[in-house]
C-alpha cells in the first residue's frame, strides 16, 4: 500500500514500537491538520537537561551527556478554530487507565488551561482492542473528585468520553470530537433557555 508521502509502512509492528503507535497517529493527524490549514498543533520536544556538549566543529555540536526530566506541561498544544488546545496522550494495555500514567502537575496544568478558556483533555488508547477515547479535563477531574481508585475503568471513558474515529486521513480525527463537544454544549444551552 502506498501512502501519500511515498513511504511504505511495515505493518509487522514489533513490541518496542507498540508504545509509539498513538504518538505516531497523533503526529500524522497533526501533519494532516496543518497541511489542510485546519489547525496548528505540535508535539513538544522531550524535555531534557543538557550537561555536556562537545563542539566538534561549528556546524555540529554533539550533546554527550543529558538527562530526561519530568515535563512541566503536557505533550501537545496548539490552535484550532481560534481556540487554544492542550492535551496529553497515553496508551494502556489494560482495560483500565492507571492514573500513575499521568503526572499530577499535568492534570493541574490542564485544569489551568480550562480556567483560562482553553480546551484541555486527555487521549487514551486501549491497545487490546485499539479503541481511542478523548476525555475532557472536567470529566477527568470529576472522576478524581469522586473516586479513590488508582485507575479509571474503561467504562468511564465509554460513558463520559468520546470514541475517536480512526481512518485514513487524518488517521485519528480527534478534532472532530472537539466539534461534537461544542455542538452538544450548544444544544444543551438551547434546551436550558
Amino acid at each position: 500500500m502506498n501512502y501519500p508521502n511515498g513511504i511504505k509502512r511495515n505493518f509487522k509492528i514489533s513490541n518496542s514500537n507498540r508504545g509509539m503507535n498513538l504518538e505516531n497517529d497523533i503526529n500524522d493527524s497533526n501533519v494532516y491538520y496543518r497541511k489542510n490549514e485546519i489547525a496548528v498543533i505540535y508535539k513538544k520536544p522531550t524535555p531534557i537537561t543538557i550537561n555536556k556538549v562537545d563542539y566538534k566543529n561549528r556546524k555540529d555540536a554533539v550533546i554527550t551527556e543529558a538527562h530526561f526530566i519530568i515535563p512541566s506541561t503536557t505533550d501537545y498544544n496548539g490552535i484550532y478554530k481560534g481556540n487554544y488546545v492542550d492535551f496529553e496522550a497515553k496508551e494502556t494495555k489494560k482495560d483500565y487507565f492507571p492514573l500513575a500514567n499521568i503526572h499530577n502537575h499535568q492534570i493541574e496544568h490542564l485544569k489551568k488551561i480550562k480556567n483560562c478558556g482553553g480546551i484541555g483533555f486527555i487521549i487514551v488508547r486501549f491497545t487490546h482492542n485499539n479503541e481511542t477515547y478523548l476525555l475532557e479535563i472536567d470529566k477527568l477531574l470529576n472522576f478524581l473528585d469522586n473516586s479513590k481508585r488508582k485507575s479509571i475503568p474503561k467504562e468511564y471513558f465509554v460513558e463520559n468520553g468520546y470514541l475517536i474515529k480512526q481512518g485514513y486521513n487524518p488517521c485519528l480525527d480527534y478534532l472532530s470530537v472537539i466539534d461534537k463537544i461544542r455542538r452538544d454544549e450548544n444544544e444543551k444551552n438551547l434546551e436550558e433557555k
Copy 2:
C-alpha cells in the same frame, strides 16, 4: 537585594550569560503570569534527536549522544485571556535585527497562527541600550514584503512595534502590550464605524 524567592542575583553578568538575559526575563515573567493566574505560557524544550541512551539503572537513563535540530516552531506558546499566544524571542548587539536570527519556517509558523486566529509576534531586545520591543507578525511580514534588506533597522521597531515595560514584577510585561494592541484595534474599529 533580596528577590521574592530568596535567591540573590549576581549582577556581574559574564559574556557567556548575556544571550540568556532575555530568555530569563521572559521565563521569570511567565512564572509570574502563571502564579497570578494571568496566563499559562511556557518555553518549549530545546528540540534534539537522541541517538544513544545508557540505561545505567531504572531511575536514571543517561543520554550519551544527541544532536540539536532546527526547531519547527517558535520557542514560546500558551494561552492569555482565552487567546492562543505564540512568539519567538531574540537578542541583538547591533542597532538592527539581522533576519538570519529567525528561521523562515518560524515566520511561516507565526503567519499560520495569525491565520488561525491566534496572536503571533516576535520579541527583540537591543542589548546596547537594553530596549525590548514586541513586533506583531503582520508588521514583520509587511517589512519583508517591502524590503530586500537582510536586517530590520531598530527604527522600524520603534515606529511599528511596542516598547515593552521592564520592571520588577513581572520583569518584562509583554502581555500588557497585547492589551494595548487590542485597545488600539478596538478604537480604530470604532473610528471606522
